[in-house]
C-alpha cells in the first residue's frame, strides 16, 4: 500500500504539525492555522510565522468506529479499536481537526479544555509520522 500523504508533502509543513506554528496575516493580523497561501479574511498573501500556545477547547468530536478510519491507520486500529477525533478551537482563534489521545472517551464533550502534545500518527514508508494530538487538561 502506497502512502497517500508522501514524505515530501508531510515534511513540507512539519513546523505546523510539531511546533504549532501559525501564519499571522501581515495586513489584518488574522491567524491561519493550518497555514494557507491566502488570508481567509482579507485575501492578502504575506504572513509572519508565530507559534501558538497549543491550548484550546473541543468544538465538536466523533468516535470513529474500528475500520472507519483511512487505511494508513489500519495497524493502529487493529490494536486500539476506535479513533477519537474532532475539532479544537484554539485559544488564539483558529479551529483545527485533530486526534485526541490519553483521554477518557466517556468524558469527551463540547467545551472540554485540551492541549497539544506531540505523538506518533502512523508508520509508513519506513518513517514514523509524528504530529500534534490533543489531550485533556487536568
Amino acid at each position: 500500500m502506497t502512502s497517500y500523504i508522501s514524505l515530501p508533502t508531510y515534511s513540507s509543513n512539519i513546523d505546523e504539525r510539531l511546533r504549532m506554528i501559525a501564519g499571522k496575516c501581515n495586513q489584518c493580523g488574522t491567524l491561519a492555522y493550518p497555514q494557507r497561501p491566502v488570508c481567509i479574511k482579507c485575501g492578502q498573501n504575506k504572513f509572519e510565522r508565530v507559534p501558538l500556545s497549543g491550548e484550546g477547547k473541543i468544538y465538536t468530536f466523533s468516535v470513529v468506529n474500528g475500520g472507519g478510519a483511512p487505511s494508513e491507520f489500519d495497524e493502529e486500529q487493529t490494536m486500539t479499536g476506535d479513533v477519537y477525533c474532532g475539532i479544537v478551537e484554539l485559544e488564539e482563534g483558529p479551529r483545527v481537526m485533530v486526534r485526541f489521545t490519553d483521554i477518557n472517551p466517556e468524558q469527551l464533550k463540547i467545551g472540554m479544555k485540551v492541549r497539544a502534545v506531540v505523538r506518533r500518527l502512523y508508520d509508513q514508508e519506513g518513517f514514523l509520522r509524528y504530529g500534534a494530538k490533543f489531550t485533556q487538561v487536568a
Binding site: 466523533s62 468506529n65 477525533c85
Partner: protein, 390 residues
C-alpha cells in the same frame, strides 16, 4: 441563452456488480437513456458529452470520457471527464446545460459512473478519504463519516436537534427504496432499528450512512426548441446553480450549513424565477442522514436550525407536502459516487413525466423538481430545477 430540455434519461440498477465491467455498466445506462428518447436519437448526433466520475474504481484513468463514449457508440462527440468528487455528475449536468444554452451544442449528454466494488477493502478506505482536506482532516484519522458526524454533533448542540430527527431521514429513505426496483438497499428500517444500529462515527450509526455501490446514469439534453422532435414529454431545465466552500470543515465559520449549497440553491432559484416554496419534490444528497437535514435548511425548505421538527412533521415523506428522496436517496437507492448527480436527474425527470417505475412511487401533480448534489462535505455543490412541460 437557449432554453434547455431533457429528452431522455437512463440508469442502471444500483448495487454490487463485480461481474460487469466499467464499459458494460456505462453502456447499460446509455442504452436506457437512448431508448427513453421516444422518437429516437442516433447516438452519433450527440455533440458534446460530460462524464462524471471520481476515479473509476480507485484507479485514475486518462481520457476516461472518450473511453466511455466508445462503449456506447457516441464516438466523435467532444467528450471530457468532470470531477468534483460526489458532485461530479451534478457538475457534468451543469456543463451540458451550458453547452446547449450557449448555442455551441444542439444535443449534449451528462453522465456519471462509479465502480466501487472492484477494490480490496483497504484500498476502498484509502480512496474514500481523498475528497476531503487530506493533509489535516485525514491525518486526524477520519473519513467522511466522522466529518459529517462532527457536523451532526454541532447541529444537535446549537439547535437542540435530536439524534432521532437525524435517523428519521435514514428511515424515510430506506422505506422509500422498498418500492424502487433500481435501488440497492430495499429492506425497510424502523426508527428503533436505526437508533440501535452499531456505532459508525458517533453520533452517527451504520444505518445513517450510504454504502459501497456500482452504477451509472445518463441524461440526454437538447435545445428546448428541438425537443418535440425527440419526445412528446420533454422536461425543461429551468434553474442551475453551483457553489463551493472551504474543503476542510474547520475553516468554515459555520459547520451547521453548507455555504456552497446555500449559494447554489440561491442561483438555481434566481435563474428559474421561482422560490423554494414552489418546489414540489426534491432529490437531495443524503450521503449521511444529517446531510439531508442540512439540505432542508440550505435550500430553504424550512428555517435555519428547524430541520429536526420539519422532518418530524412528515412533510418530506412520500405522501407529505414536499417529498424528499422518494427514490430512497443515497442512503438506500445507493451512492455510486460519480453517478449520483445524473441518477437524481433520472428520478426527477421520470417523476415529472409521470413515468415512475411503480405506481406506488409516482408523485401526483408535481410541476417543479429539484436536485441537490454535494461533493465531499460540501466543498462543491450543484443544484438544478426541472419543470414538466404541459
Amino acid at each position: 441563452m437557449m432554453d434547455v430540455a431533457v429528452i431522455g434519461v437512463g440508469q442502471t440498477r444500483y448495487g454490487m456488480f463485480p461481474e460487469k465491467s466499467l464499459k458494460e455498466l456505462f453502456h447499460e445506462a446509455a442504452l436506457a437513456a437512448l431508448a427513453d428518447v421516444d422518437k429516437g436519437l442516433d447516438p452519433r448526433d450527440v455533440d458534446e458529452a460530460f462524464v462524471g466520475t471520481l476515479s473509476t474504481g480507485g484507479a485514475q484513468l486518462g481520457n476516461f470520457a472518450p473511453m466511455m463514449m466508445e462503449a456506447c457508440g457516441m464516438v466523435g462527440a467532444g467528450a471530457r471527464h468532470i470531477e468534483n468528487a460526489c458532485a461530479s455528475s451534478g457538475f457534468a449536468l451543469r456543463d451540458a446545460v451550458s453547452a446547449i444554452a450557449s448555442g455551441r451544442a444542439k444535443v449534449a449528454v451528462a453522465a456519471g459512473i462509479e465502480k466501487m466494488s472492484d477494490l480490496p477493502r483497504e484500498r476502498n478506505r484509502l480512496w474514500l478519504g481523498i475528497s476531503g482536506d487530506v493533509e489535516w482532516e485525514r491525518l486526524a484519522g477520519t473519513n467522511f463519516a466522522g466529518i459529517y458526524a462532527m457536523m451532526a454533533r454541532r447541529h444537535m448542540h446549537e439547535f437542540g436537534t435530536k439524534k432521532e430527527h437525524i435517523t428519521m431521514a435514514a428511515v424515510k429513505n430506506r422505506n422509500n427504496a422498498v418500492a424502487n426496483p433500481k435501488a440497492q438497499f430495499r429492506a425497510p428500517l424502523t426508527l428503533e432499528q436505526g437508533m440501535a444500529a452499531p456505532n459508525l462515527a458517533s453520533p452517527l450509526k451504520f444505518s445513517d450512512a450510504c454504502g459501497i455501490t456500482d452504477g451509472a446514469s445518463m441524461a440526454i439534453l437538447c435545445r428546448a426548441e428541438m425537443a418535440r422532435d425527440f419526445t412528446d414529454q420533454p422536461v425543461l431545465v429551468i434553474g442551475s446553480g453551483a457553489g463551493s466552500d472551504y474543503v476542510a470543515i474547520h475553516d468554515r465559520p459555520s459547520m451547521t450549513m453548507l455555504k456552497g449549497a446555500f449559494e447554489a440553491g440561491k442561483e438555481a432559484y434566481t435563474t428559474a424565477g421561482i422560490t423554494s416554496d414552489d418546489i414540489d419534490f426534491a432529490e437531495v444528497h443524503d450521503c449521511f442522514a444529517i446531510a439531508e437535514l442540512l439540505a432542508y435548511e440550505d435550500l430553504g425548505f424550512c428555517d435555519r436550525g428547524k430541520s429536526g421538527p420539519y422532518i418530524e412533521s412528515g412533510a418530506t415523506l412520500r405522501d407529505g407536502a414536499r417529498p424528499v428522496n422518494n427514490s430512497g436517496g443515497l442512503i438506500a437507492k445507493g451512492h455510486p459516487i460519480g453517478s449520483t448527480g445524473t441518477g437524481q436527474v433520472y428520478e426527477v425527470v421520470n417523476q415529472l413525466r409521470g413515468r415512475a417505475d411503480t405506481q406506488e412511487r409516482q408523485l401526483s401533480g408535481a410541476r417543479y423538481g429539484l436536485t441537490h448534489n454535494v461533493g465531499g462535505s460540501g466543498a462543491a455543490v450543484a443544484v438544478h430545477i426541472f419543470k414538466a412541460v404541459e
